[in-house]
């Protein structure tokens, strides 16, 4: 069982992701904005974080950067979730330090598969 941080401002999507992760047997910490995400990551030391790109407080990219800058959180793999599909967005996300970039709408089943595969690599 791994601890996964879910940072997503849209409550419906947050609940969906949390539901699927619980179902897969993971412990989930969920927050609704970027600042809370950074705080929760420092506090809980999750094994992986799923972070929405467009969030109040800090954007997903900024969260990524903030996590990379802090030694305790620098090694947490981050999957970015985004409803934006502009060419170049995914490159920017990966440059900010994310390990994967998922465009909304996504298949919750596939998202959980990606989580499992990243956790296995650790």
């Amino acid at each position: 069982m791994a601890t996964v941080l879910v940072a997503e401002d849209d409550a419906d999507i947050r609940e969906l992701v949390v539901y699927k992760l619980h179902q897969a047997g993971h412990h989930v910490v969920s927050v609704a904005d970027g600042l809370a995400a950074v705080a929760a990551a420092r506090e809980n030391g999750p094994d992986l974080a799923i972070v929405d790109v467009s969030m109040p407080g800090l954007s997903g990219m900024q969260v990524c950067t903030a996590l990379r800058e802090h030694a305790a959180t620098a090694r947490i793999p981050v999957i970015l979730l985004s409803a934006r599909a502009h060419t170049g967005d995914s490159e920017n996300g990966l440059r900010a330090g994310a390990v994967d970039y998922v465009t909304k709408p996504f298949s919750p089943r596939e998202l959980v598969q990606r989580v499992e595969s990243l956790l296995e690599k650790r």
């Binding site: 849209d10 969906l16 539901y19 409803a83 599909a85 502009h86 060419t87 909304k104 709408p105 919750p108």
Partner: protein, 556 residues
């Protein structure tokens, strides 16, 4: 380079200084023809020299002067003519009045000849006023000048009874006004052509009030700054011409960034680097007005060369695109917002549907599952629409980026057919694939898949039940061809040209109420263009349609 006439001098000292400057420089601006005041001053200087030389000449005892009084009159008349040239406001008088000056000088020559008892040496001087008259290019000045020249030659004979020339001597002397007339006439034509060209250029510069036209010398120093540039940047031309480079108009940060990109120092070279290599270039720059406000300018820059082929400078034509850039940014933000706001609820719909269909919350009846399939299908249709709109906005902004990889087009076609099979079955249409073995190219797999998807979607929509859709993928040395033919309703010939225009819907689609918004083929064309390929269509109403796409093996 200003087309404005030089103001008439108010003081003698200033005029004398200007005259001296013009005598020294001898700078004939090409657009200043016989009419301009400056041109008049310049043409008068040979006479001034003649007058001076004559007075000096008579100071030597070797020169035979038979009539000193006439000589003084000649000198006085020369001085009066020079003064008239300098101080008469010629630009307010009709053009023909200027002819008084050469006429006056012809009189001076006649007086000089008379005062020396008809010495033939002065006859040569008629060249100068006759040349001047011929520059007007009008027959009356020429005819009058010939009569006056005759009078000049004969003046000593009439007045003091000096001996006439022998016939051969007269002939030689007559050559001078004829030569002057020929030279003057030719010069007039050249000057007239040059003036017309210069007037055209000057008109162009003045007429372009919405465009900035700035020319520089090869070192970047501004040589032309038109009205449009004055209006656009808020600097008067006389503060710019010969004093600064266009760099003062540019945002320093942007110049520094571009300099780093080009690997050059952040100088005016940043703007002219491409043009210096002989390549005309158009790009958008952020510029700064005199008042510090910023504007976005689309700047086209090209080199220009002199008659010897040497670089003479650069011409930059700028259009203020601030409003357009702001509108584009607004549109981009709007599209991004819409995309975000539409995709987020679709994410919930599609995600929760998947959870439901995965049976994790309890078993569904087959009827419930059927309903959820309808919801899913429609949600995905809406998602496709949002994606298409977003893609088209990226095409508009020139931001279509390909993620290149080696891709087997036949495999893409197989996958596309597989995905389209349920829709084809529902429409009772048969899908068929024929493919060569060698259909691999370097391209963007997702985008190329989208091409085949879009063509198949259209073919299924427009082919009646029982029809056939044939997908053929073939390859030769340089290209891979995708051909999608159907036995559908076809496209009227008159509409085929507009097929790739966004939001265009063929009458065969609207009359049959076939759903769609007219973006599918626009996207196909944009993707094919991005791959440097070609797309064409052959169709006859009622006889089906074939789309043919040729893609190069490698996108260069």
């Amino acid at each position: 380079m200003s087309a404005r006439p030089a103001p008439v001098a108010r003081s003698g000292m200033r005029t004398a200084r200007r005259l001296a400057a013009e005598l020294l420089t001898g700078d004939f601006a090409p657009h200043e023809g016989p009419l301009s005041h400056r041109g008049l001053l310049r043409r008068a200087w040979p006479f001034a020299l003649v007058g001076l030389a004559t007075l000096i000449m008579f100071a030597f005892p070797t020169t035979q002067v038979s009539d000193h009084a006439t000589l003084y009159v000649a000198a006085g008349l020369t001085a009066a003519l020079i003064a008239a040239v300098a101080f008469v406001p010629w630009h307010r008088l009709p053009e023909w009045t200027q002819a008084a000056v050469p006429f006056g000088f012809l009189g001076v020559i006649a007086l000089l000849r008379e005062s020396t008892g008809g010495a033939a040496g002065f006859a040569v001087l008629v060249f100068l006023p006759v040349l001047w008259l011929a520059l007007y290019g009008a027959a009356w000045q020429l005819a009058t000048s010939i009569v006056l020249v005759a009078l000049v030659f004969l003046a000593p004979t009439f007045i003091i009874g000096a001996p006439t020339y022998p016939a051969s001597g007269l002939g030689r002397i007559a050559l001078w006004p004829i030569a002057a007339a020929v030279v003057g006439g030719s010069t007039h034509r050249l000057v007239a052509a040059e003036r017309a060209r210069a007037a055209f250029v000057s008109g162009l510069l003045s007429a372009a009030t919405e465009q900035s036209i700035i020319a520089t010398d090869p070192n970047g120093l501004i040589t032309v700054f038109n009205r449009g540039a004055e209006r656009m940047f808020g600097y008067p031309a006389d503060e710019m011409i010969g004093k600064v480079t266009p760099l003062v108009l540019h945002d320093p940060d942007e110049v520094a960034a571009r300099a780093a990109e080009l690997g050059v120092a952040p100088s005016v070279e940043v703007i002219t680097a491409q043009a210096r290599r002989g390549r005309a270039e158009t790009r958008e720059w952020t510029c700064v007005r005199r008042d510090g406000s910023r504007l976005r300018v689309s700047l086209s820059i090209a080199p220009y060369y002199d008659a010897m082929g040497e670089l003479h400078g650069f011409v930059k034509i700028g259009t203020d695109v601030t409003e357009r850039a702001a509108a584009e940014q607004l549109k981009d933000e709007f599209v991004a917002l819409i995309s975000h706001e539409l995709r987020t609820p679709l994410s919930s719909i599609i995600g929760y549907l998947e959870v439901l269909c995965d049976d994790t919350t309890g078993p569904l009846t087959s009827r419930q599952r059927q309903f959820l399939d309808v919801v899913d299908r429609n949600a995905r249709r809406q998602l496709r629409l949002v994606s298409d709109l977003l893609f088209v906005s990226q095409v508009d902004a020139g931001r279509v980026r390909l993620h290149l990889d080696y891709v087997d087009v036949a495999e893409l076609a197989k996958a596309a057919i597989e995905a389209a099979q349920p829709r084809a079955k529902a429409a009772s249409v048969t899908l068929q694939l024929e493919a060569d073995d060698t259909t691999t190219l370097r391209g963007d797999p997702d985008r190329l898949g989208q091409i085949i998807d879009n063509l198949l979607t259209n073919a299924i929509k427009f082919t009646p039940a029982g029809g056939l859709i044939d997908v053929r993928i073939t390859g030769n040395t340089d290209t891979v061809a995708i051909e999608v033919s159907d036995t559908g309703v076809g496209i009227p010939a008159a509409e085929q040209q507009q097929l790739f225009t966004r939001f265009f819907r063929a009458s065969t689609a609207t009359s049959r109420a076939i759903p769609g918004i007219g973006l599918g083929l626009t996207i196909v064309k944009a993707i094919v263009d991005a791959h440097r390929g070609t797309v064409s269509v052959t169709s006859a109403e009622g006889n089906g349609t074939t789309f043919r796409i040729y893609l190069p093996r490698s996108v260069q």
